[in-house]
């Protein structure tokens, strides 16, 4: 017969083992659901990046606030074509192949053209633009983009006077963009700008950030950046730009018309129906910042909306 003391010792030992094993199992399960890890992003350096002049910098080309880290800009993305999980976009987009990329510029223009990406990028030398980026979800970043004003491309194709809006479209390819296999949004993603917005120098076509080519998770190879509007207006991985006469449909405003408007100008006074837009979490900072009218670009773009009811046209 086993002596009592030994029996209890053995039982205590087994129990300690069960306790430890269960805690490890719970920890592993938690880790599976909340993975950590710093992925590496390595895209080619963009040669000949032009820095903004002092005047340009003062006109909104360079915001004087600390830049968000490259790691965060490339690992916290809203890009539902790859994943609805912001931290899951980077791994899902790794290896996205943009070889042979073309952008068709068409519609109400004198000179419609299908651009090979390289030809499109030759329209104007890449400029560094350090912009605030305010997501409709009430977080924000400061991103050093590389790109040039959309107006320079539009000048090349010569818009007709009947062109009142510009419509943009993302690539539709569920094989390369796995998120498009779910019907969470109506694919392909489409966006649009009014002509005067599109011609504003702050609206850019970006092909890089931090002096390097755009990583897939940030909209490779070419995307729109409109710094005074919520981030979802900055359509990514563009394949088509069409000049049109009437206001084009846009993905989020069709998904929830009462929550996302066509204009989507950053506005701390007009709340999202479900949450406040008065403050924002700047990524990399502890506390929250007050959100600025037109994301701090009011001096530059305010005149575009003079006399408009921004509660109605949100």
């Amino acid at each position: 017969m086993t002596p009592e003391a030994v029996y209890f010792n053995r039982r205590t030992f087994i129990r300690a083992g069960i306790l430890a094993a269960s805690a490890v199992a719970t920890g592993v399960a938690y880790r599976q659901l909340n993975p950590v890890g710093h992925g590496k992003v390595d895209t080619p350096v963009i040669p000949g990046l032009v820095k903004p002049t002092t005047t340009e910098a003062a006109n909104g080309f360079r915001v004087d606030e600390p830049e968000t880290s490259f790691q965060d800009i490339t690992h916290y993305n809203n890009f539902y074509e790859f994943s609805t999980d912001k931290e899951g976009v980077a791994p899902a987009a790794a290896g996205f192949d943009t070889k042979g990329w073309q952008v068709s510029v068409e519609g109400l223009v004198n000179k419609p053209k299908v651009f090979a990406l390289d030809d499109l990028l030759k329209i104007s030398p890449p400029e560094e633009r350090i912009y605030r980026m305010r997501c409709v979800e009430a977080w924000s970043m400061v991103i050093p983009w590389a790109g040039f004003s959309l107006s320079k491309l539009l000048d090349v194709v010569e818009p007709l006077s009947s062109a009142k809006y510009v419509a943009f479209q993302t690539l539709l390819d569920p094989k390369r963009m796995p998120g498009q296999r779910s019907d969470v949004l109506d694919w392909p993603y489409v966006e649009g700008l009014r002509m005067d917005e599109a011609m504003h120098p702050l609206a850019i076509l970006a092909s890089g950030l931090y002096g390097r080519a755009l990583p897939p998770q940030d909209g490779a190879p070419i995307r729109l950046v409109v710094p005074w509007k919520y981030g979802f207006k900055g359509i990514k991985s563009i394949v088509k730009i069409k000049l049109v006469e009437t206001q084009p449909r846009t993905t989020w405003s069709e998904y929830a018309p009462d929550e996302y408007g066509f204009y989507a100008n950053v506005n701390p006074h007009v709340d999202h129906p479900r949450w406040s837009q008065a403050t924002e979490q700047r990524i990399g900072e502890f506390g929250r910042r007050p959100t600025l009218m037109f994301n701090g670009y009011e001096d530059e773009v305010g005149h575009l909306y003079a006399g408009m009811d921004l509660r109605k046209y949100f």
Binding site: L19, G27, N34, Y76, T84, S276, Q281
Partner: protein, 211 residues
């Protein structure tokens, strides 16, 4: 089940319930909560609240269906964990999202539907936590205590809708919670309907005869 086994299982629940919190604190102190740690802390503590609410509500069906009567011994702990993580969730919102501003916390909580629901869920858990002791069960009496603790259903339903409402487009995760909750509530509804049905009376007189 032996008293020492019950105590051991309680220890298991206590330790395992703290594992997610320990990892949250660990990751936070090593700067590994991702780009938006504030949001991650709020979201994860909210998830833990829902998970423990669901676990609490799974006890009774499991007991009855699988005959695991001893499970009831652990329900209080699971419920208290739900309340614990719910309080952390609120504290994260209050400190990280509202910067310790009582007025802005209150304004937001009254203004946003999803926050009204979330607050409702947390507030109804308060009396449940207070009356969770053996002494309180005795003072209230089993029947009244059970009626009061049906508020747990309110907390779970409000909590799941609260989660669903603040998701932007991909509602798959809140829908999973909703589906599990529907099963757990559906079981209770079935039991209730079964008990309510009176035994079929045998008519003494044919209805026609009355006329």
């Amino acid at each position: 089940m032996k008293e020492s086994d019950i105590r051991f299982i309680k220890l298991l629940i206590l330790v395992n319930g703290l594992v997610p919190l320990a990892l949250l604190v660990w990751d936070q102190s090593h700067n590994r909560l991702g780009a938006n740690p504030q949001n991650f802390l709020i979201l994860t503590t909210g998830m833990m609240t829902l998970i423990f609410l669901i676990l609490t509500m799974a006890v009774t069906p499991l007991r009855k269906i699988a005959g695991l009567n001893w499970l009831i011994q652990f329900r209080r702990m699971l419920g208290l964990y739900a309340f614990f993580y719910g309080c952390l969730h609120f504290l994260c919102f209050f400190s990280l999202d509202r910067a310790f501003s009582v007025s802005s916390t209150l304004t937001e909580m009254l203004k946003r539907k999803y926050l009204i629901l979330g607050s409702t869920a947390l507030i109804v858990m308060i009396p449940l936590a207070i009356t969770s002791t053996n002494g309180m069960i005795k003072r209230l009496g089993g029947k009244r205590w059970r009626v009061l603790h049906r508020l747990a259903y309110v907390a779970a339903i409000a909590g799941v809708i609260h989660y669903y409402m603040q998701v932007k487009a991909d509602t798959r995760q809140p829908l999973v919670f909703a589906a599990v909750l529907a099963v757990l509530l559906g079981y209770r509804l079935m039991v209730y309907l079964k008990q309510r049905k009176p035994p079929a009376p045998t008519p003494a007189v044919k209805p026609e005869a009355v006329i």
